[in-house]
Symmetry: C2
Subunit: 192 residues, 2 copies
């Protein structure tokens, strides 16, 4: 966030390092929320001191990783057509992005340990809003249930996604089946 326009002066190799570090942080923190700064540095093929050269503290690094994942998510979500039948829209949304959302969710729990609650809402807010709006539209169309709180419906989707990612990680679910299974499960929850 402040890394783009903060100091206009930055060398090309520094740019490259930062990108590799943030990318490694996303990858590692998604698998282990307690991943060490040293772990991340190693995964990025970089010395620990280099990391501290760009991120003063570990929380700052975690925040950058979360921001990066959310920005990537925004791009993907932005390209999905959310019009038409809400069920179809949701199916399209899940097909193109469920894995990414699930990964971000894991990273998000990692962030919850070290970042202030308000900070997270700021970064994550509108991503969640988008889904919530889609659910509401489905309700207005009469295809989604209205007997449960919207907040719960959205949350339960999150938990299903998170769970599916976990099952894959543990080898109990094949990656090929995942999209179909996740979609079917989520639609079942929302169905009127």
């Amino acid at each position: 966030m402040d890394r783009a326009p903060a100091r206009p002066r930055r060398r090309a190799d520094a740019e490259r390092s930062i990108e590799r570090i943030v990318s490694a942080a996303r990858e590692r923190l998604s698998r282990d929320p307690d991943a060490t700064v040293d772990d991340i540095a190693k995964a990025a093929g970089v010395g620990r001191m280099t990391v501290y050269g760009h991120f003063r503290t570990r929380p700052e690094l975690v925040e950058a990783a979360l921001a990066g994942a959310l920005r990537a998510g925004e791009e993907t979500l932005g390209g999905v057509d959310l019009g038409g039948d809400a069920r179809d829209a949701l199916t399209r949304l899940l097909a193109s992005s469920w894995a990414l959302v699930a990964e971000s969710a894991a990273l998000l729990t990692a962030a919850q340990d070290v970042l202030a609650p308000g900070r997270i809402r700021d970064l994550h807010g509108d991503a969640a809003d988008r889904v919530e709006n889609l659910v509401r539209r489905g309700q207005r169309q009469g295809v989604f249930r209205t007997d449960l709180p919207v907040a719960w419906l959205v949350s339960s989707m999150q938990y299903i996604l998170h769970g599916a990612a976990e099952e894959i990680r543990a080898g109990r679910l094949a990656n090929a089946d995942a999209t179909r299974i996740v979609t079917a499960t989520v639609l079942s929850i929302l169905r009127r």
Copy 2:
């Protein structure tokens, strides 16, 4: 496990201490998987050294807490009538035990950090089997879906329960509504 018949000799106050410690461990670890031995000791109204007097290491304490929770779970689950229509049976099962299962799930993730995988399966195995059998019976009765793997159906139930507990903890879900919401959600997932 080895605490009952290990040394037949144990004083009444020691018995009391152990019970309070295990109980406190269940309570605290369900809220924070990284709870300190000292945290647990304080919650039990006992000195840290007393804890180490009964449990040599922290993992050993975690295991005792998990075992205690599962034993309590077995008692509750054992008292539920699982006959008749599988949907009704599942509703009864959830009504009487969802909170407990959800709590144990949180404790279970705490245990996953410190215990060997095999150790957990040993303790948790038949509790999961019971639910799985109920799901299979529902499929045979034609009231539960068969287009998704049974293992996934059971897992997704777990994740929903876990999520509901989380929502309550965060204050986003009222305890009074929880049973109804959880039941409705789970039945929606299983419905044919």
